[in-house]
């Protein structure tokens, strides 16, 4: 799992690629949090999930953890482009009420 970022106006775009499970989540967490910490002051973060080929409930915990971190910086969180399988899990976990899908 890799995390790469791109700034656009007041938004931080985070592109996740790979498989998100219990094995990969520690690295994903470290990389993503470094990107978030480096973008304090922006108003929102958009997680692009198009490159996430697999995700289980570990992904729900991971995204809620990042949501809490962003909240401490006063940043809003959004999700975009999950594949059908990830979308099903995110819907089931009720995540879109916290982090709307763009």
């Amino acid at each position: 799992m890799r995390a790469q970022a791109q700034r656009q106006a007041d938004s931080l775009y985070i592109y996740l690629t790979g498989e998100l499970d219990e094995h990969s989540v520690a690295q994903a967490r470290a990389e993503t949090d470094a990107l978030i910490d480096g973008a304090a002051g922006l108003s929102r973060a958009v997680f692009n999930l198009a490159g996430v080929k697999f995700m289980d409930s570990t992904g729900i915990g991971f995204l809620i953890g990042r949501y809490k971190r962003l909240k401490r910086y006063g940043m809003e969180m959004y999700l975009e482009s999950p594949n059908a399988a990830a979308d099903k899990i995110l819907e089931l976990g009720g995540l879109y009420s916290l982090m709307p899908k763009l």
């Binding site: 499970d21 219990e22 697999f54 995700m55 570990t58 809620i64 399988a85 899990i89 089931l92 976990g93």
Partner: protein, 145 residues
């Protein structure tokens, strides 16, 4: 009828191994992409539970048995770890016994939702066995129409 049995260590790198093995085993049933991804997710949840909760910080064996019969994939995933003291509570959506670890508490809910049959048996100190099954091959059924 076909059957397979696999025994592997409770290491997190084996999660991807286990879910891909089950997906490969199910291929002759002509599953749709969505059926395959449901099965992979459910297997990943069950194996993660064995590693994170069953063996929590120790290493042990996980046993995976799969059987296909009449277009249905049956999966059994068992550990010999600490077991679940209160299964009812463990099955509650969003409940996690490890809230400090960013865990969602959605593992069993996903297994129940993504598979058509699901059951869990556990004994404190002895281990936990999850059994689940799913009818595969909606695509083949549609093609035949």
């Amino acid at each position: 009828m076909n059957e397979m049995y696999l025994k592997f260590l409770s290491r997190s790198e084996n999660e991807v191994f286990a879910r891909n093995v089950v997906a490969a085993f199910a291929l002759p049933l002509s599953p749709t992409l969505s059926e395959l991804s449901d099965v992979k997710t459910a297997v990943s949840e069950a194996v993660t539970n064995c590693i994170v909760h069953g063996y929590r910080g120790t290493e042990g064996w996980i046993e995976l048995t799969c059987r296909t019969e009449d277009g249905v994939l049956h999966i059994e995933i068992a550990d010999s770890g600490r077991g679940i003291a209160d299964i009812g509570r463990a099955l509650t959506p969003f409940y996690t016994s490890l809230p400090e670890e960013e865990r969602s508490g959605m593992g069993f809910t996903i297994m129940q939702t993504f598979m058509s049959d699901f059951s869990v048996a556990s004994e404190a100190g002895k281990g936990t066995t999850v059994r689940m099954s799913k009818k595969m091959g909606a695509r083949a059924a549609e093609d035949a129409r």
